[in-house]
């Protein structure tokens, strides 16, 4: 049921160490970057995959749930926007707090991504699970792969 994200591996893998991540950004494998691509570590990160009958968009939006994320599509451009607040521990109210690291994104965000042509936006579905929003965009019937019968001569 659950499968391997490494199918999304379209290039050199993202290493553990920040140095290599930094170098990857500066030397982007010679390939052209998507015009709307963002540096690694941006929030939320997005993967897009394709099957024979649909395009699936995975929005890695940790800390959000269904009501916090707005997904819209116009002219084949998908936009996800929302806002993520900083986590405040419930119990300790006014106690002094010392911050050591603040790496997590906080505040409003909006990201856009161009999708392939031929999607049936009317039948799009989205669901949220474990901080990942999956948007399913079925292909229009006429664009699905078709088997062509070969008749005997």
């Amino acid at each position: 049921m659950f499968d391997d994200l490494r199918r999304f591996d379209t290039g050199p893998f993202q290493g553990v160490d920040w140095f290599r991540q930094l170098m990857d950004e500066f030397f982007t494998e010679g390939g052209a970057a998507d015009i709307r691509a963002v540096p690694r570590g941006s929030y939320p990160m997005i993967n897009v995959g394709r099957t024979d009958d649909a395009v699936r968009v995975y929005v890695f939006a940790a800390g959000l749930s269904a009501g916090d994320l707005e997904v819209s599509i116009q002219d084949n451009v998908l936009t996800v926007s929302g806002k993520r607040e900083a986590v405040v521990p419930e119990t300790e109210g006014e106690e002094r707090r010392t911050d050591f690291r603040r790496e997590r994104y906080r505040g409003a965000f909006s990201r856009s991504l161009a999708l392939p042509d031929g999607l049936d936006v009317e039948r799009a579905e989205a669901r949220f699970r474990h901080g990942v929003c999956e948007v399913l965009l079925p292909k229009r019937e006429e664009l699905k792969p078709r088997r062509i019968e070969i008749r005997a001569a």
């Binding site: 659950f2 490494r6 199918r7 379209t10 099957t51 010392t98 690291r101 994104y105 901080g131």
Partner: protein, 130 residues
């Protein structure tokens, strides 16, 4: 530790260096408040079952496997997340009470509370008037 922290002695924890290299580094917030350190980590797609938190030799390890459903035959068009796991480690200081660490995960966000030992708690010292 609670049940999140205790599970998984190594069943899904990769051992080879190759596998480790393919892990993502989750962004974290760390702050100190109320006699405890708080670690908050973004690990989207990680579930209660696929999260493993361990303290070994004063090193805190957070590891989680991204569990998202992908249909057969899915081909990537565009990918920013290119690994299946999140891994991050921190060295703890000696005043952390490792037996009292608590963890929970909600919507792919891990929240760890690392209480300080009783003996190391902040004490207010009264200043006597002269």
């Amino acid at each position: 530790m609670n049940d999140v922290a205790q599970r998984d002695e190594g069943a899904s924890v990769p051992t080879s260096r190759e596998q480790r290299a393919e892990a993502l580094l989750p962004p974290v917030d760390i702050f100190e408040q109320g006699n405890a350190l708080h670690v908050i980590a973004d690990m989207p797609g990680v579930t209660h079952e696929s999260l493993s938190i361990e303290v070994d030799n004063n090193v805190l390890s957070l590891e989680g496997e991204v569990r998202i459903e992908m249909p057969e035959g899915l081909a990537a068009i565009y990918a920013e997340v290119r690994a299946q796991r999140f891994v991050r480690r921190f060295t703890l200081s000696h005043e952390i009470d490792t037996d009292a660490i608590q963890a929970r995960i909600e919507n792919g966000v891990v929240h760890l509370v690392l209480p300080k030992k009783e003996t190391h708690r902040t004490r207010r010292i009264e200043v006597q008037p002269a």
